[in-house]
Amino acid sequence: MARLVFLGRFREIANPALAQVTLPGGVRTLAGLKDWLAEAEPALGKALDSARTQIAVNQVLVRDPSHPIVHDDEIAFLPPMSGG
């Protein structure tokens, strides 16, 4: 099971069932995961599809779409940040 975390406005769009999800065998990279999400949840896929969306794997920001995803990873999708 992978853990998917959706922050901010992504959380309001994402299906809560995605919090704990068994990924299909073919999903092995971040790019693969985004493609799979876009197919399963088009509205979410569209929201995530922006150069300003950041992704953290196990709480570390990752910019490489070919980054591998393994069982038990925590993958977080972050909309543009706004502190202060």
Binding site: A56, S82, G84
Partner: protein
């Protein structure tokens, strides 16, 4: 250096006094406090919600503060940031910088605030009588951040 992300309201005056007590002989203390507005661009704000990514948010703010400290040679920094439901008039963020001289203290507060605006993993939603609205950094925030320095 202290970075605190809290759901509880805090008293900026008490935080600054405690921080000052710990470094009373440093020379210069500069502070900034950001408060929840009662209205944004004419729209009344009932509640501001700030969401964090627990663990990650605290560590990233710490990393930004470390970077400011390295760049400006401050003696100590304090960041307190509210998350959760915030009412107009309540403090959202406090940044305090202790340094030997005023220039470093002022610069550290300004730079860290510029970093927080665009790089702190926090997400804001304003809720008012005419609905909810997610807030993202403005072009002005990004311009200030670009001027402040390269991505840390």
């Amino acid at each position: 250096m202290t970075v605190r992300v809290t759901e509880e309201p805090f008293d900026p005056g008490a935080e600054i006094a405690a921080f000052n007590t710990a470094h009373g002989h440093a020379g210069a203390l500069a502070t900034f406090t950001g408060y929840c507005r009662a209205a944004t661009a004419g729209r009344p704000v009932g509640t501001l919600y700030i969401e964090q990514y627990p663990g990650f948010t605290q560590r990233e703010i710490q990393r930004l503060a470390d970077d400011v400290s390295r760049q400006l040679g401050t003696l100590d920094l304090l960041v307190v940031h509210r998350v959760g439901a915030i009412r107009p008039g309540e403090a959202i963020v406090l940044v305090a910088a202790m340094a030997a001289h005023r220039a470093e203290a002022f610069d550290a507060v300004r730079l860290l605030m510029d970093y927080l605006k665009t790089d702190a993993p926090l997400w804001k939603k304003e809720s008012g009588p005419d609905g909810d609205r997610w807030i993202e950094p403005t072009a002005h925030d990004h311009a200030r951040r670009a001027k402040a320095g390269e991505k840390v």
